[in-house]
Amino acid sequence: MNGVHDMGGMHGLGPIQLEKNEPVFHARWEARVFALNRLVGAWGKWNIDASRHVKELIPPAEYFRISYYEKFLVGMTELLVNSGLVTRAELESGKPARDSKKMSPPLTVDKVPLFVAKGCAGQPQCARRGEIPRRPARSRAQPQSHRSYAASSLRSGEARYHRTGSRRICLP
């Protein structure tokens, strides 16, 4: 997919803005989004590819406008609705629907340390994908998937560009 997220090689996006003594999170809500994203992900209703895909569907102008953790929030909200865990009506009202049954979360506080220590392998849904073949350095391929590739090639001799690696995903 050559959406706006695949911005490698684009011009005109301005200088890099450094921040001295940058905190891990700039606001409490960012930390909450970060945590909630992990916890709802533990339901195993979507994999990492799906979670990237929904963020990449954010309209380009919005994608540039909103911050990194707002994209997290948008993506997580979409996945919650798409998977049926939450309805749009519930999101709007902020209350569970009358007929909704209270569920038991899969990732309880006692399981968090193991989840963190083992990572993906700590989840039963974990599956490994095959090797992704090494891409030619000047490929302008635009696959119809969430994966991004640098949109531009590099001038000869200036630098070398690598894109390689095996992938692992958590299947739903």
Partner: protein, 232 residues
Amino acid sequence: MDGTRRGFLKAALTAAGATTTPLYAQDQGRGSGQVVPSDPALRVKSLESLLVEKGLVDPKASTRSSIPTNTRSDPVTGARVVARAWVDSAYKQRLLANADAALAELGYGGLQGEHMVAVGEHSLRAQPCGLYPLLLLSVAVLGLPPVWYKSAPYRSRSVIDPRGVLRELGLDLPASVAVQVWDSTAELRYMVIPERPAGTETLGEEQLADLVTRDSMIGVAKVSAPQVRGRL
């Protein structure tokens, strides 16, 4: 047409830096005045209470997993790995050949660090789709990435103008130094083993680890010997 597009991008970029919180704008001198239509803090609060009420998340777990213990900008775990590689060349070879196994030797690994690759010095890690060698909570190798690393300017330019990007970040490399850009996949995370600075021959592993910065492991800064250490 072209001018319009450029104008749009410029406006979008200014806004992207200023949206979430005034904190971003303060020392950055970025354009402020962009009003977020709906306060994300309120949206998150409302969503969280809905998720808890529906039994979709454990409120205790959400509190606990929200705070990565690695809040330093010079991540301890990654620094220890680098220091070991500096003092033990056999370990460095193993790290370069199979980072996952070499990290496991030191007891490191875990969430978002399942697939690490270590590369030699003078490499710039690029991330056109917003990735970073991050490990969260107790097993952080490099910690959570800084905002600039996830920003459009870094993501767009690191693959086409790596030397310019490095210069902007305060690292002016002579033409004799080759630059390699490594681009991650959705799960693969990189760490750079930076060059060991001259004049550190007498230092022990622990003292060496203290010198290693996050930025040096991203590949955008050199490690300085103790007396001249400075940037970031």
